[in-house]
């Protein structure tokens, strides 16, 4: 069973598969250019105290996202 969660709701060590990317236009394009495409797997490495930024591991590299960008990514997370 997997459930859908926003990226900013995950804690370090949790990860999942990208199910949808909410924004359209330039932000969506930028996120996709950075490797965040539907179906790609990522894991949260660490989160700054206020939840901004969030560092994720993706395709073997780490990527830091602003909270408002992380909110736009919906992940399929295995419900443990």
């Amino acid at each position: 069973m997997s459930i859908l969660k926003r990226l900013d709701e995950l804690v370090p060590g949790q990860g999942g598969r990208i199910a949808s990317i909410s924004p359209c236009g330039n932000l969506r394009r930028k996120l996709m250019e950075m490797g965040l495409v539907i179906g790609s797997e990522l894991m949260v490495i660490r989160v700054a105290p206020a939840g901004d930024p969030v560092e994720v591991l993706l395709r073997g590299y780490s990527l830091a996202l602003r909270k408002n960008e992380a909110k736009q990514l919906i992940l399929e997370v295995d419900a443990a």
């Binding site: 330039n26 394009r29 930028k30 250019e33 490797g35 073997g60 590299y61």
Partner: protein, 244 residues
């Protein structure tokens, strides 16, 4: 003189390679119209003079960021003889996105597979011959910080400059039947426009027009005849209506 341009994602060792290629012969200036630094230098290899321009680091080539715009304008409008795409060997998947965009521009490409020492150190293996075959361009392993592989890279630049790549020789990304049909339709209109002939790679231009790239639309509006522009816009409009 061979005109070569270096491009690659940020932090792949591009500037280190540039410094090693050109030594102390660099000149720093600006790209016209924007305050993005332009560094150019000269080297001589096998009796040929090579001018090398270091383009800004970029993940992609859209018209939204000034540095990406500088890079894509330079490639499309200045048409350097050879583009050297510096790729981080330990982040191949991410870096190849830019490589595919460059192939789409019909760039005469040489790929420098940098951090080759790290690839082995991390226990990774990359089949260089296969990669070169898939991309349709030479792939040269390099280690920028030690200068390893740079002589091979210079050889490849001279060789690539000697043989202009035939159109469509590189790997083209297939966008799937429905979009490919659309690309072909727009490309046909573009090919009919003699004023555009040879100024832009046709397939790339067709894709950019379908994306609605503002920069490209602006540049081509003056060149395409109004009926040709209308043709292209109606193709796009019809398809958008069909999708909805």
């Amino acid at each position: 003189m061979i005109r070569a341009a270096l491009i690659g994602n940020p932090n792949v060792g591009k500037t280190e390679i540039f410094n090693r290629l050109t030594g102390l012969s660099q000149k720093v200036g600006n790209f016209p119209g924007v305050t993005v630094e332009k560094k150019a230098g000269m080297l001589v290899h096998r009796g040929r003079e090579i001018e090398v321009v270091d383009l800004p680091g970029a993940y992609s080539l859209t018209a939204h960021a000034v540095d990406e715009l500088v890079a894509s304008d330079y490639i499309v409008l200045e048409r350097p003889d050879v583009i050297v795409d510096i790729v981080d060997g330990i982040n191949l998947e991410r870096n190849l996105y830019l490589t595919l965009l460059l192939l789409e521009m019909d760039a005469n490409l040489v790929v420098a597979l940098n951090r080759w020492d790290m690839v082995a150190a991390r226990g990774m293996e990359i089949d260089i011959e296969k990669l070169s075959e898939l991309l349709g361009c030479p792939v040269v392993p390099t280690v920028a910080i030690t200068g390893c592989g740079l002589e091979d890279l210079k050889d490849s630049i001279v060789d690539a400059a000697g043989q202009k790549r035939a159109k469509g020789q590189g790997a083209a990304l297939n966008y799937g039947d429905d979009i490919e049909q659309l690309i072909n339709k727009v490309e046909d209109v573009i090919k009919e426009c003699t004023a555009l002939n040879g100024r832009y790679p046709e397939r790339w231009l067709a894709i950019k027009m379908l994306e609605g790239d503002e920069r490209v639309m602006e540049q081509t509006r003056a060149i395409l005849s109004s009926s040709q522009l209308a043709d292209i816009l109606s193709i796009i409009e019809a398809e958008e209506a069909a999708i909805k």
